[in-house]
């Protein structure tokens, strides 16, 4: 069968396969197809940078053009992973820069990227086109200068929410005058000023620029000039959206916006002065994505803007919108697919806005296409959750965060088991779930029985016993990522479901009841799992084996379990089953 087509034909056929899943399937048909496929694979996604080694990737796929990789576990976003844990990009980049001189795209998430890394990319990959660094850290504006200076064909530079040490704003001037290829530039995470004239000239000579996300330091008075030079923009992130109220500033801005016929996404909006929002009204009907999550303005102003955006599909906003604003959203934006509501005062002892569970209920009622929600609030009831589940069985992502992590149903004072149970029961396509509130083992039983398509689950301060964890591990067939903090889950459930862990990308447990002894046992029994004990109190074997570890991070890997970059607070098991640390 494999001999019926010449290699070139098969390669051509395979070139139509873009999904990794399809390509993986193809490579398992027979050795010949495996070989042909690996030579023509151009894109790769590595969900955990420690699951495989650079050498293995390079050996198997000699001709990659695009690499996407993730490093630290998700809970690193909330400071639960100590600094220095790992996820260094350099070893990967060093190996790939040598092996793939034609590498074009690199996307990294939650990794430590140094200036050396960026310089290496810029000097080794002559055809480099796209760099996306999401929630990365470790580099400075000098690294950005190398990218700007050396990547002649750069199309995208996107620094989403990365932490950049800003030594100077002049890195932008390193883009040569001959560089006209920019399609996307996102510098919204930078705190300091960049030279406006350089920015304007860069924008002016980039006819293909589709995405421009400015940083807060770009004042509103400058925005009109920038937009005017790029009326073809599809995505715009403003800087600080505030200025003295002047009619000429306003009309300049309004004119500039009205020339942008293709604008679909808006973001930025720090320091909003509501009087300037109407300057955007001319583009609102085309807007599908609106990120107002930094705009501290009252509900009435938010609503005035949102009700102009009838085609809105995605809205990120702060809880200043309040229930009343969400009612209007539900009435106006029938195409809404994703809603995120962030807390304006997460640490306040008392609520500062009138945003309750009712807002979410309204939106779930009014927006038939709503499928993805992240909602911070201060009270919730089973009745509301049940109503939401009934209204919206098409949820794919449901993330609820009640500020008080163990708040019961505020009406009945019961646990919220029934509410979340309804969510998983009705929403059969649910892929991601985060829960908070008072929750017992019962909710996990519901999850285990119903959430068959669930891929990612985040749990905090919930459950009563190991039974809870056991329900999840034994019942959730599609589970890939499980992250748990501060739950009374321990050894039994973990060890009883050891094999399950190899079918998942990773498991994170911090401040639970997992003993060091169990970690050792798990690592001994499951050679293809890396069981990292992350504990800042010193060597775990200086305490009784029954003592709980601070954090354990378990992930499947075909690379060595002794990664060379472990800091002194990470312990893994050695080949001879003895405790090994760096």
């Amino acid at each position: 069968m494999a001999y019926s087509f010449p290699e070139e034909v098969l390669e051509h056929v395979f070139s139509f396969l873009s999904s990794d899943r399809d390509r993986n399937a193809v490579s398992l048909v027979c050795k010949s197809w495996y070989d042909i496929e690996r030579w023509c694979r151009r894109r790769i996604f590595v969900g955990n940078c420690y699951a495989v080694s650079p050498e293995m990737v390079i050996r198997r796929f000699p001709e990659l053009r695009a690499v996407e990789m993730k490093g630290k576990p998700h809970f690193a976003d909330f400071n639960l992973v100590p600094e220095g844990w790992g996820a260094y990009a350099y070893p990967w980049i060093a190996a790939m820069a040598e092996a793939y001189p034609f590498l074009e795209e690199i996307k990294l998430k939650r990794m430590v990227v140094t200036d050396d890394t960026l310089e290496l990319i810029s000097k080794s990959c002559k055809n480099f086109k796209l760099l996306v660094l999401t929630s990365c850290e470790g580099f400075t504006t000098d690294g950005l200068a190398s990218i700007a200076a050396n990547c002649r064909h750069l199309r995208e530079l996107d620094l989403r929410e990365s932490e950049v040490e800003e030594l100077s704003g002049h890195w932008l001037s390193h883009f040569p005058d001959s560089c006209t290829s920019l399609v996307s530039l996102n510098i919204s995470c930078l705190g300091s000023e960049v030279s406006f004239s350089i920015l304007e000239r860069l924008v002016a000579r980039s006819p293909n620029l589709r995405t421009l996300r400015l940083n807060r330091a770009v004042p509103l008075e400058r925005l009109a000039n920038l937009i005017r030079r790029a009326p073809q923009l599809v995505e715009l992130g403003t800087g600080a959206y505030s200025a003295e109220i002047r009619s000429d500033t306003f009309s300049n801005l309004a004119d500039a916006f009205s020339a942008c016929k293709q604008l679909k996404a808006l973001s930025g909006f720090w320091d909003v002065v509501p009087s300037y929002l109407p300057a955007m009204y001319s583009v609102c009907s085309g807007i599908t994505s609106l990120n107002l999550s930094y705009a501290a303005i009252p509900s009435t102003d938010l609503v005035k803007l949102i009700s102009q955006c009838q085609n809105l599909q995605r809205l990120w906003v702060m809880d200043y919108i309040e229930d009343s604003g969400l009612d209007v959203l539900a009435a106006s934006c029938k195409d809404l697919q994703e809603l995120r509501v962030f807390p304006s005062d997460p640490f306040g002892a008392e609520p500062n806005v009138s945003l309750t569970e009712q807002g979410l209920v309204s939106v779930s009622e009014g927006c038939p296409k709503l499928e993805s929600v992240l909602y911070f609030c201060r009270q919730m009831s089973n009745a509301a959750l049940i109503a939401i589940a009934k209204n919206r069985p098409n949820f794919i992502r449901f993330r609820l965060c009640i500020i008080d992590p163990q708040a019961p149903d505020y009406l009945t004072l019961e646990p919220l088991d029934a509410g979340f149970g309804a969510i998983v029961e009705k929403c059969k396509e649910l892929r991601r779930l985060s829960m908070t509130g008072l929750l017992t083992d019962r909710v996990f039983k519901y999850i285990g029985s119903h959430a068959k398509k669930l891929e990612m689950l985040s749990i905090a301060f919930a459950g009563d016993s190991d039974l809870g964890l056991h329900h999840v591990l034994s019942g959730c067939d599609s589970l890939r990522k499980l992250e748990i903090r501060d739950c009374p889950f321990g050894d039994k459930a973990l060890l009883a479901n050891a094999a399950k862990l190899e079918t998942m990308r990773s498991l994170w447990m911090s401040s639970c009841s997992v003993s060091f002894g169990a970690c050792k046992l798990l690592a001994q029994k499951m050679p293809r799992l890396n069981v990292e004990v992350i504990d800042e109190r010193g060597p775990p074997d200086s305490r009784p084996e029954s003592c709980s570890v601070e954090r354990v991070y378990v992930y499947r890997t075909v690379a060595s379990r002794q990664r060379l970059d472990m800091p002194d607070f990470v312990w893994t098991l050695d080949e001879d089953s003895s405790l090994r640390y760096s």
């Binding site: 200043y320 009841s513 002894g517 029954s546």
Partner: protein, 312 residues
Amino acid sequence: MQIDLLGGGGLFTMSSSEESYSYPDESDLELGLGLSLGGGKTKTKTKHPAAAGGGGGGSWDHYAGILTAKDFAGVVSDKTSSSSSSSSSSSSSSSITKVNTSGTKRTAESPCSPPGRSAISQVVGWPPVRTYRMNSMSNQAKSPVTEQLFSIDDKCKSKNADTPNPNHGSCKNNNISKEKGFVKTSLFVKVNIDGVAIGRKVDLNAHTCYATLSLALDDMFMPSASVGGRGSNMERQASVAGKRRPARFLDGLSDFVLTYKDKDGDWMLVGDVPWEIFLSSVRRLRIMRTTDARGLAPGSQERNMRRPVTPL
């Protein structure tokens, strides 16, 4: 889309019955581990229920009794945990006791809790809002532009009607700042100590004065003289018995001084300016060897005097 490491072609088969275990009935309390442990079931250590992890056998009762939601509720509302008394089981319940630095748990109570902030603010990483977002919001509160805006109320009232309802907008804005409050959230900055490659992060808004910050940093980097980590952790554990230590970095007697990089990129000695001004200009911290900081001490004071510090 992932590399399918395990393959669908039989590279790895899950052993089913051996490893999985079904709990037929919650009332059936007799329990054994699915994996063969070699050596049979071991007796559960019953003294410290929270610590009983490794053993097999024993009745389910022990586990059902551990750390129910009520225990957590009690701890979250500010009591120091009494349910897990031994230091060996400190991790689970003490995680909700006061912590004020990322990734570190301290059993000593943090002395200064900013007013108006709930006990929630003392839990690491809760609520789950990314540092990036919290710092943005926090900076918003201190931004000079924002403050200026709330005083242009009057100006607005006299402007023409080009912009719809300028009064409405700005007045409401003013109300927001008073009622809803632009509150301080978190301000995480990096802190490095000379001689150690790995840095830490500290939330400056969890402190109201230099003294508590200094204590916190002291605890974080405590045996500052010893290079490298292992011994340090043990020493740290031994000394965190709640003893109040003098502010090592501020008293000028230690080998190290605390410095910070301000928004202009200059390194200054910590402690020279009022706390609020420090907060508004600090970008990162560095615990420098005193010998290296020699040039800094008199110089920074001069610089402070030469360049007037304008409050934001």
